[in-house]
Symmetry: C2
Subunit: 425 residues, 2 copies
């Protein structure tokens, strides 16, 4: 195979995770050692940065700061939620042409894109366009999503850390609720996770003994029923004197209607996905009104996915390894694929890197299997716990400065632009 020489461009897209920067670190550190790679650039705010030719020269960063990316949450290059217009529209054509013009002008031959379902779709479209125009470009996706809903991989980097954080929070709030149960006997913890129940399910990892929180899990995979819900909460309170509820923000009722969904100008995101977030208030209000029990609400929102102060070492290391693997795969001639994880065994836990077609991942979603949810539809099974437990093992040794994490600070040296500014963003 001929050696393809050129620049490597890496971008981050979609919601950040605790470990997407660890993947970035893996990409940079692996690329630095590859002679075929003649420059390492970062796209600022993902595909938006490519459109604007707004790139950072990552080879000019302090290696110590690059190394700190391993334990820095957020998305150090900047992320985006930007949907390419359909190809058969004038805007869609202009987008694609501009992306290719920038890649060609900057001599980019390796495109690494870290993101979730939507981002893999974007990468797939860029590669298809390059192929049609005969521009040699190798693109590999790096999976990233706290939602854990990507097909073709055992799990997604980002999930282990969010699972660990959610479980630690559920464990602590569970103790708080036990202590306060005479006056404040119910907690509703609203958990994100797009349209799947993986994140909500992870709160069950908090349980060590019979009676520990969480007591009831409401997952988007199971249609929610008002009467059954109230009965289950009442029963739990009767049994334990308290009730900890983990509720997915994407819950739907039996008619398929989202619970507590907002309306108005921000009801949908750029990809047309419904924005969620009213489930916790709705459920806690219902408990107050119908059961006359005080219900407290925990809603971390974006705070769920940033907890590198208590990150999963397993997750961080897998994210890093997939960043490295993606670069090596591209250099080996692979393209149009996403780096994924294949589970070899649960105990001892082992996952190996693998490649999966972008078309398998793009715009698809993997839900929590029905057999990992109990018959009553309000809890997970031991099989789920066996799957999830290895993913939260180990603590990230985040450097601390003045009592708080010391996160990476990139200089962000801009790559000189070679094209005139683009007017379409």
């Amino acid at each position: 195979m001929k050696v393809l020489r050129g620049k490597l461009l890496v971008g981050q897209s979609g919601g950040p995770t605790a470990v997407i920067n660890s993947s970035l670190c893996g990409v940079i550190q692996e690329a630095l050692g590859q002679r075929a790679i003649e420059g390492i650039y970062g796209a600022r705010h993902g595909v938006v940065g490519i459109l604007n030719e707004d790139l950072a020269d990552l080879s000019q960063e302090d290696p110590a700061e690059v190394d700190l990316l391993r334990s820095t949450p957020g998305a150090a290059l900047g992320s985006c939620r930007y949907k390419l217009a359909p190809e058969d529209t004038p805007e869609g054509k202009a987008h694609r042409q501009r992306l290719l013009d920038v890649l060609a002008a900057q001599e980019v031959r390796y495109l690494l894109y870290a993101g979730g379902n939507d981002s893999m779709d974007t990468l797939n479209k860029i590669l298809a366009c390059a192929a049609r125009q005969g521009y040699e470009l190798r693109g590999i996706g790096v999976p990233k999503t706290v939602d854990n809903d990507l097909p073709g991989t055992d799990h997604c980097p980002g999930y282990g850390s969010v699972a660990k954080h959610l479980a630690a929070i559920a464990m602590g709030v569970g103790l708080d609720m036990q202590a306060m149960r005479l006056s404040d006997p119910v907690v509703v913890m609203e958990v994100q996770g797009r349209f799947s129940g993986w994140m909500t399910a992870a709160t069950a990892l908090a349980r060590r003994r019979e009676g520990d929180a969480p007591h009831l899990l409401y997952l988007p995979e199971i249609p929610w029923n008002r009467g059954r819900f109230l009965e289950e909460v009442r029963g739990c309170h009767a049994r334990y004197g308290c009730c900890f509820i983990s509720a997915a923000t994407a819950l739907k009722d039996e008619q398929g209607q989202p619970l507590g969904a907002p309306t108005g100008p921000f009801a949908r995101d750029a990809f047309g996905h419904l924005q969620l977030g009213g489930v916790g208030s709705l459920l806690s209000d219902l408990i107050k009104q119908e059961l006359e029990l005080k219900a407290r609400l925990v809603r971390l929102g974006p705070a769920e996915r940033i907890a590198m102060h208590f990150g999963s070492l397993t997750d961080r290391d897998e994210a890093f390894a997939l960043g490295e693997f993606a670069v090596r795969s591209a250099l080996a001639g692979e393209s149009g694929k996403m780096a994924g994880l294949e589970r070899v065994s649960d105990s001892p836990y082992r996952c190996d890197p693998t490649l999966v077609g972008l078309d398998v991942v793009a715009n698809a979603e993997k839900l929590l299997p029905r057999e990992w949810i109990n018959d009553a539809g309000n809890d997970v099974t031991e099989d789920f716990l066996r799957y999830a437990r290895p993913l939260i093992q180990g603590e990230v040794p985040t450097p601390i400065e003045g009592g708080l994490p010391r996160y990476a600070r990139l200089r962000g040296v801009s790559v000189p632009k070679k094209l005139p500014p683009w007017g379409h963003d």
Copy 2:
């Protein structure tokens, strides 16, 4: 001074903190070494446990588990929000008599009560009643509140850990927001803290460099004005492309009306205090409607105060030391006082234990001083940061088991009851 022999009874009251169990550990471990103390009992759910003669024999606990209390959040004895009825009512008289009957029947001579303003008031009332009846009882309060609003002490154990947690969350979500600013440029983090701004102010510890989150702080000490608020958010967004807002749940407008306060049966707690919690939704909705910017909401609620997975070592150690100090003070003949902290110096940081009259603390509250808030009323000053920084230093070495904290598990051996059951609870 004659040696007063008898049982020591310790109770926990009010909302838990990350370190109220560290104080409990200090009480138990100190009491174990004192010959005048003939038994160490814990009241289950504070004063409710005394009324019900529902006590645990803490001397029968495994010393290793007692030691784990140092790094266990919640309130291991159970807590309560229970207000004694006024003394001039039949119920109030009956309450007080019952409390004294239980203390006398169980030969309790030392009463240690960990809590906040309301709890110190309860302790004060019990002591007044014992004095009137000629029952020799020494009572010392152990301060505990994340709100940091107790007078007579430099700060309250529990505040350092919640401050550290809030700052870590603000730092991480700040990075998330920076990364996502093209689509999700605003974050509103709603912070509790009863009627003072101490907790909200602590989020400012997250800032390391110009432009870091949080950008705007809205504190209950400063009346909130809609027009000014929108102008400030707009200005911040224009400057940084994003805006992180820390907003106290107890914000009031210029007419003194609480923002977003709930109504209905749970609008007030047992002490008649207004229950809060709608500020974050109100502010983020306002930003969406008036500024047409997407605003994400972070609302940890009870999850703020349980973060022993990232607790402050300084806070944990001070909580422990005040537990020990309270016991030693009672043995030395002190009563009717709360153990407090007196700051000797900022750098090197040093606080010494001190005693303060319960009447100074009971039902009073210490607000954030106006001179620690900037002129615009939307930030804290360097003086506040100098005060707060030492309180978040050091990380608690919480034992981890299977990727999550291993918290203490008490056996909870009940003390045999000596009185007939009480019918009033």
